[in-house]
Subunit: 319 residues, 2 copies
């Protein structure tokens, strides 16, 4: 690491708070409260793949953390610590300052502490590793869905995918609608408070990063169950009301990047879930049911017939 | 992530052993034995910066893990878990297979378990996060060196830097010597067993990734002490005997990538350290002493005069 790159660390150093030892040694040191487990997840964002090279650095710093926090939310783990490895083509103080402000703004909101990382020279990318705490045995795993469970989704889906289509020029949107869709794409809100409250309530959970159907299919595969969801019940992003049915369905069912939670729970939990939604100020919507059968996802129309989802731009839901 | 990239996971999935939940969910889950702390470190390797684009993938997989294990060694932490985020320009099964064989060969030797990661498309790079366990309070921190401590170094230094100079074409070497130097560069051996045995013996430690003087200077800075080391005592790599004094000194004092340990210990620990060296089959060499004074490193000749280290290719040892 060149001295020039040492300078960067000034943007990414904070004094240790909950950590026993933070940035500045060979390793950080942390403890773990008795009776808890540690949940760990890693995600990389690459320029030109996960974001545009000219992306707003403030929003990018926030989003890089948000997509990682979302994995902790999907596990019901409380955010604790994060490492940030960032690779930069050159030193741009304005860019770095904005990126770190976005990162730390969300870190503070989420109560997560930066404990280490690495700064290297190369094509722009960043890899974060987040660590969260969850009481032993309470984690929301993908493999614990039960036959008959309700299927739920938080917030709304499809908005981020619409924003991406807009940026790619494959749809045209009115300014107000475009703004909403781009907000969903660039500033996802991880559902950590909801995830933590779902401990002991939900049986299985995942965050929607690849698309509602693809991610629900992961629960199916790991739990060895089928899922049937009703198209009419899916809380589509309001921005999708302004586009035709094909784009709407493609975005809502196969659009990634929403970072909402999809979870399953016994029907006796409906009231508890309504309370969680009310406390969080975020809709939690029941969209279908898990059932025995081959591990795949069916999308049903209002008459209970399987929808021809080929028009949605993907032709296999099986996993 | 495209289905094509899902395939990659076949190269990087192993069943959970010590982890409570391994690859395949939103997060991995781990526990921590009572009375222990968790040490965490992250390092990125970028193609064209930390390794050549045509580097042998088997050795690269091994080295990517080795440099991260070295951080745990420098902390005295026992290797436990690792995440691997790898960014690839394309899918090359032969490359991936060799990389994963190198990675897992060392993982098995070190007793560290892959619990998660991410595979993305983009310019070749990899970011690893390693987690190790250390009894509470026993970690070898940089900020705990004491006035009067002996300064020690494991193995030999400068060989990796000589290998790099050879590849860059700035030195010519006989084939046997070149081979030894390249081995040091491409296949560093992390000193985890030694690191763990130094708990309760060493006061401070660091691994030599940036060069002996630069890394010892980190101990000086964090411990607020000076260091004086004797040039004649430094265990230089045997490969350096075949080059002139300027290159020899530059490689031994300022050459990175050796991944040896530099540590400080009270003089009453000399016998214990000799035993550790003997058990590990790796020399541990006493090269100088910590003393009160400004946080910098002096290199002394056999008469105790400060060496003119400007010839070594760096002109400031202060930090």
């Amino acid at each position: 690491m060149t001295p020039e790159f040492d300078l960067i660390e000034t943007y990414f150093t904070m004094p240790a708070q909950k950590a026993l030892l933070g940035v500045g040694d060979d390793c950080a040191l942390i403890g773990l409260a008795a009776g808890n487990e540690l949940a760990i997840s890693t995600d990389t964002l690459v320029s030109g793949v996960h974001f545009f090279a000219d992306a707003d650095p403030f929003k990018l710093g926030r989003k890089a953390l948000a997509v990682n926090l979302s994995d902790l939310a999907a596990m019901g783990a409380a955010p604790r610590f994060v490492t940030l490895a960032i690779t930069l083509p050159s030193i741009d103080p304005a860019w770095l300052s904005a990126f770190s402000r976005g990162f730390f703004e969300l870190a503070e909101q989420a109560g997560i502490e930066l404990i280490g990382g690495d700064t290297t020279r190369g094509p722009l990318s960043m890899t974060l590793t987040v660590l969260g705490e969850v009481p032993t045995g309470d984690a929301l795993r993908r493999d614990r869905a039960q036959d008959g469970d309700d299927i739920w989704v938080s917030g709304s889906v499809g908005g981020a995918a619409l924003g991406l289509k807009y940026l790619q020029g494959t749809v045209t949107l009115k300014p107000g609608v475009a703004e909403r869709a781009l907000e969903r794409l660039h500033a996802p809100v991880p559902r950590n408070k909801i995830g933590e409250k779902l401990r002991g309530v939900a049986n299985a959970a995942i965050d929607i990063s690849d698309g509602l159907v693809a991610d629900l299919a992961h629960i199916c595969q790991r739990s060895q169950l089928a899922a049937a969801i009703e198209w009419a019940l899916i809380p589509i992003s309001p921005a999708l009301l302004s586009v035709g049915p094909d784009v709407r369905m493609a975005c809502a069912l196969a659009g990634g990047d929403d970072y909402e939670l999809c979870f399953t729970a016994h029907e006796r939990m409906r009231e508890a879930i309504a309370v969680i939604a009310s406390e969080a100020g975020v809709p939690l919507t029941r969209i279908g049911r898990m059932r025995s059968g081959a591990a795949n996802v069916s999308v049903l129309d209002e008459r209970g017939n399987e929808l021809n989802t080929a028009i949605a731009g993907f032709d296999h839901f099986s996993v």
